[in-house]
């Protein structure tokens, strides 16, 4: 049980020593990830395994003990993230042959923290791993790249803020429930809630804040776009797929069961205020994430906002507080891990070959990089939630659960976001892969096998989960069953739902789509042939853009693709910018800083300040 944590730690240490030898380090990285996956596979079903480390450290009058346990839900998260991590690890070997920095050792530490978070039995262990993940990811993002500092700093500040709020929550929870064990503290919190309602509500809100920061839920939705745009692409694939789920996991094991069992007054007979709080924040992230994704010109930023929207869907499923919604959310976690990893791997492949991530500067890569194109296509079909691939089933379950609970506003926002997803996904596809190939990319080749094979595996995974959702749903339902939820063990290809006669068989859906593809192929083969024209032919009206002082790229149709749509929503985003609010806090601190430095630089006020201090004492000692 412990070796699963020791292996990444030791690997991190060894690869730190041999950091100059890239081949060895990335090979070790792959081996280690393979071992973790194998070990996780062997841990399946052994839910009683625990490991306790007793310390002499005393807090709240009791000795602290740190523990790990094979929690079924933790296993579920850890296993599927390990699968995707292994695929990314294969990709990294090829991707990093020419890269400048070497992110492997710090990435291995993050994997250590990753497993620690999913396997922690008590809050202190959880917090230790959580904070470790926070600062290591700062170094992984910057990776010695000066340009990455601003985004990474933003992420770090938010992450430390979340850590602080979680520390307060954990310590209050520990002091009031007399335990740090996650499961026990949840039970006691439910029992004791009415005794100290204010404190426990504060605890829950502080926890929720920490988790929302890490999962980029509404008020904290900006960091992915800042971070994903600058980090090393292969690591970002891991971050956008696996790391953004760290906030979801504790929501699933702690917040959702607790809020579901609290005896709070209900609003409209549908749910209590906390449920609505989570739901509306989820809905806001889904809508805001979708809108912002449409307006991006950088492809990595676009998919960063798409992640925000997807985290919103997961929260919507949680907010329904029904078992179908819960299953749907957890299913969507895995779906999102797989599809986001696939999309980011294909983006990494594009960046690897072209060095460009602005979409209007790309185009037509479908002819040059067919496998990358196919992966991306599969990824966006899955992300849009179109049936033969994964992503459909989970959204379907979440919407059903919300409908059943009559949370109509949330359903509307989810449908809006899913529809909007078509807009930005299609736009990305068109801008990057379709259209015409710019002159400068005439010599671009498909990526080497080490990178194309992982992408093919990802395609296979998406199709597999899409057609046979049982590969995910079976372990999930078994894990939930082991945790004591009343669930039916899922079958291989059908998805049950909360309504009568709404069970669907994805096998049949797949056959229908396969027929559709055959028909489309026939139409392509026997239809009219296409005609090729030069790229800047049709929209500059004979003028040379250079003479007008503008770049030809700016006239590309994929620059400001949704301009009219953007103008429609601009007033909203002009006026309300959470991003600007958070940055201004940081800026204000930076403005005060020189003032304080000046205080220490000049000495005129030294004795004056001294006297003020003494005066304060005298006032405090006698008058107060």
């Amino acid at each position: 049980m412990v070796e699963i944590l020791l292996v990444p730690l030791i690997t991190a240490f060894i690869s730190d020593i041999f950091i100059k030898n890239k081949r060895l380090v990335w090979f070790l990285f792959l081996i280690s990830n393979g071992y973790i996956l194998y070990k996780l596979y062997s841990l399946y079903g052994k839910w009683d395994l625990t490991y306790i480390l007793n310390t002499d450290y005393q807090i709240f009058g009791a000795k602290l003990s740190l523990g790990l346990s094979n929690n079924p839900l933790g296993w579920y998260f850890a296993f599927f993230s390990a699968v995707v991590t292994l695929v990314i690890a294969i990709f990294s070997i090829g991707f990093n042959t020419n890269s400048k920095g070497n992110v492997a050792p710090i990435w291995m530490l993050i994997i250590f923290a990753n497993l620690g978070i999913f396997y922690a039995a008590d809050w202190i262990t959880f917090f230790m791993m959580w904070e470790l993940m926070g600062w290591t990811s700062f170094f992984a993002i910057t990776n010695g790249n000066t340009k990455a500092l601003d985004g990474a700093k933003y992420y770090l500040a938010l992450s430390l803020l979340g850590g602080s709020s979680m520390l307060i929550a954990i310590l209050l929870l520990g002091a009031y429930t007399k335990t740090f064990i996650i499961i026990t503290s949840a039970y006691r919190l439910i029992q004791l809630f009415n005794l100290a309602e204010g404190v426990f509500t504060t605890i829950l809100l502080l926890f929720i804040m920490a988790f929302f920061i890490k999962s980029a839920i509404f008020p904290f939705y900006m960091w992915p776009s800042k971070v994903y745009a600058v980090g090393p692409e292969d690591y970002i694939a891991f971050m956008s797929s696996v790391m953004i789920k760290y906030g979801i996991y504790p929501m699933a094991i702690f917040i959702v069961p607790v809020i579901g069992n609290l005896q709070l007054p209900k609003i409209f007979n549908a749910g209590n205020w906390m449920q609505y709080f989570i739901g509306y924040l989820g809905a806001l992230s889904a809508v805001v994430g979708t809108l912002l994704a449409m307006f991006q010109t950088d492809m990595k930023k676009l998919f960063a906002y798409s992640s925000v929207a997807n985290m919103g869907y997961i929260l919507l499923g949680f907010a329904s507080m029904s078992i179908v919604g819960f299953e749907g959310s957890l299913f969507h976690v895995v779906n999102h891990i797989v599809l986001k990893a696939a999309i980011f791997l294909s983006l990494a492949a594009v960046v690897y070959r072209t060095g460009e991530s602005e979409m209007h500067k790309l185009g037509g890569l479908v002819y040059k990089m067919p496998i990358t194109f196919l992966t991306f296509l599969f990824g966006i079909i899955a992300a849009a939630g179109i049936p033969p691939l994964n992503g459909f089933g989970s959204k379907w379950m979440i919407i059903q659960a919300l409908m059943e609970k009559k949370m109509v506003v949330l359903v509307i926002s989810m449908v809006f976001a899913s529809t909007g997803a078509f807009m930005y996904l299609f736009r990305a596809l068109v801008s990057i892969f379709l259209g015409q190939l710019p002159e400068r990319y005439k010599d671009v080749k498909e990526v080497p096998y080490t990178m194309s094979i992982p992408m093919i595996i990802m395609m296979g995974l998406m199709l597999l989960i899409g057609v046979v959702p049982g590969v995910v749903m079976k372990p999930l339902t078994i894990a939930l069953d082991a945790l004591g939820y009343k669930v039916d063990i899922a079958t291989w290809t059908t998805l049950s739902s909360s309504f009568k006669n709404a069970t669907i068989d994805l096998k049949i859906v797949f056959y229908m789509f396969a027929m559709g593809i055959v028909v489309a192929a026939l139409m392509y083969l026997f239809g009219n042939k296409s005609e090729t024209i030069p790229q800047h032919d049709n929209y500059t009206a004979g003028e040379n853009p250079i003479e007008w002082g503008v770049d030809a790229d700016k006239f590309n149709y994929s620059y400001s693709f949704y301009q009219p749509f953007k103008e429609m929503f601009d007033p909203l985003f002009e006026r309300i910018s959470i991003d600007r609010f958070f940055s201004s806090i940081g800026k204000n601190f930076e403005y005060i800083s020189p003032t304080i430095q000046g205080l220490y630089k000049r000495g005129e006020g030294a004795v004056l300040l001294f006297s003020i201090g003494v005066l304060l004492f005298i006032l405090g000692g006698w008058i107060l």
Binding site: T55, D56, Y57, Q58, I59, F60, G61, K100, I124, F127, M128, M129, E131, L132, W135, F138, F139, T142, G144, N145, T146, L149, A152, K153, L156, A157, L160, L161, S164, L167, I168, L171, L172, G174, A175, F589, E590, I592, S593, I596, Q597, L599, Y600, K601, G603, G605, A606, V607, L609, F610, I612, G613, V614, L616, F617, I618, G620, G621, W622, L624
Partner: protein
């Protein structure tokens, strides 16, 4: 164990001799410092702790006495280890003034920790002030002289206050002995106690670098040579911390409770503590001079320490000890790294140190570990301190909760500026072809490893800290009766 006076006497003799010895001074300095360190270790392992030495045979309440208890020996070791480690960073030739002042500083800081008499304590504090004033000014430029003067002015203002406090104590209680004061303090009326505390604490906060009294800190660090930075951090601050623990928690606390929550002094100390923390962290946020950043951050750490001891809770006090230990090691690492890197980069601006972390990764990693420890990240020593202090402060009254929130916010700021510096070390940069001997990297790595060990395995230090807290908890049996056995 009458020979304990050697710890003070030998450095003073050496200070006198150093005026005549010229080039041998360096050797003498090593010999004397290592003697002090090994003598402290001998005392530690001799098993005679606690014991009391009456100087000149004058028994306790009447004469001056040196006391060695668990807390004393712990701080004695910290100070002497700091002295040895700081000496190792001196590579170039130093003139006799430097060594003379250094020996005085060594004697004075050892004396501050050993003495059991409040007036004697005051004298040693004055001696420290005087020595540091000389050491800061050793660079002999405009900045150094200014910084030194500033420090001297503030310290002498402070010492006036403490002299007044001592006079008041003598007037009201008729004694100057720590143990005697501690046993009689409950007879004192509230107003006199408040006045004495106000006067004494305000003088002590100068050494503790707490906000309205710490205007000297940044300039003094910036103006002095690296070894003096380490003296200031490792010896003077540590002695100041000892003074705070001994005098606030053991001498001036009624009925062996710590500064109780009900008293306003404790509340004001909490207030000043978290103001110090937030002000120094914000000050460090945009500072480019690495030494100044470290100076700001050391004020913040002492602010957290003061917050911990003012809460009046033994677990929070334990956290404060962890903070002291973590800060002690971490700042050592950071000052040494700053020194080495600034020598290579030719400037103290950390932005000029780009890429040095790639060439000398050991130093940069040690710096990062220390920074993470100061931020209170888990797996590093500072985490256990933060956990204890925050956890216990949350269960206190409103002012403590506000303090916790402010301290956590400032730890976010601290994280941002420290990790930005670490990132700068590891980023691409043009490195000049300067050679840094690998030996310079060994010491920071060892100290960083200590931080890591304490962080991963808190048992290593937990029991030592509890022994010291035990002494504070049972002041009458463990301290007063050692000195005044008749009672």
């Amino acid at each position: 164990m009458n020979s304990i006076v050697f710890l003070v006497v030998i450095p003073i003799i050496a200070a006198f001799l150093s005026l005549f010895l010229g080039k041998v001074n360096k050797l003498i300095a090593y010999i004397v410092t290592i003697f002090n360190l090994s003598f402290s270790i001998v005392v530690l392992v001799s098993g005679k702790i606690p014991f009391n030495v009456a100087i000149g045979g004058w028994r306790a309440p009447y004469g001056i006495n040196f006391v060695v208890s668990d807390i004393t020996i712990f701080f004695l070791l910290l100070i002497n280890v700091a002295a040895v480690l700081s000496l190792t960073t001196i590579k170039e030739h130093m003139e006799y003034q430097f060594y003379a002042f250094y020996f005085i500083l060594l004697a004075a800081t050892n004396g501050m920790v050993l003495t059991g008499d409040i007036f004697n304590f005051y004298l040693f504090t004055e001696l420290t002030t005087f020595a540091i004033g000389g050491l800061v000014a050793y660079k002999r430029d405009r900045l150094a002289t200014g910084a030194s003067l500033k420090y001297l002015i503030l310290s002498s203002t402070a010492s006036t206050f403490s002299l007044a406090a001592i006079g008041l104590i003598y007037k009201t209680l008729g004694t100057l002995n720590f143990a005697d004061i501690a046993s009689k303090i409950s007879n004192l009326n509230k107003a006199s106690l408040s006045l004495i505390l106000i006067l004494f604490i305000s003088s002590m906060l100068v050494e503790l670098k707490i906000f309205p009294f710490n205007i000297w800190v940044v300039k003094a660090y910036d103006a002095s040579i690296p070894a003096v930075n380490l003296f200031l951090h490792g010896m003077v601050s540590t002695a100041g911390v000892y003074g705070a623990i001994r005098i606030l928690l053991m001498v001036f606390s009624k009925n062996s409770i710590m500064l109780s929550q009900s008293s306003n002094i404790a509340n004001i100390l909490i207030l000043l503590a978290f103001i110090t923390v937030i002000i120094s962290e914000i000050g460090a946020l945009t500072e480019k001079n690495l030494i100044k950043v470290l100076a700001f951050s050391s004020m913040a750490q002492l602010g957290i320490f003061l917050f911990g001891i003012s809460l009046g809770n033994y677990e929070a006090l334990k956290g404060a000890f962890y903070i002291v230990i973590s800060n002690y090691f971490a700042k050592f690492v950071m000052f040494i790294v700053a020194k080495n890197y600034s020598v290579i980069a030719g400037s103290r601006n950390y932005e000029d140190m780009k890429g040095l972390g790639r060439k000398y990764p050991g130093l940069a990693i040690a710096f990062t570990i220390s920074a993470l420890s100061l931020m209170g990240m888990p797996f590093f020593a500072g985490f256990w301190g933060k956990l204890s202090i925050v956890g216990n402060a949350l269960l206190m009254d409103k002012i403590a909760i506000i303090g916790v929130i402010i301290i956590l916010i400032s730890s976010v700021i601290e994280g941002v500026y420290y990790l930005r510096i670490s990132h700068t070390f590891f980023s691409d940069g043009n490195i000049q072809d300067t050679k840094l001997s690998r030996i310079n990297c060994v010491l920071p790595i060892i100290l960083a490893a200590v931080i890591l060990i304490i962080g991963i395995y808190p048992n290593s230090i937990e029991n030592i800290i509890w022994t010291m807290i035990n002494e504070i908890q049972n002041t009458p049996e463990k301290y007063i009766q050692v000195i005044l056995p008749l009672k």
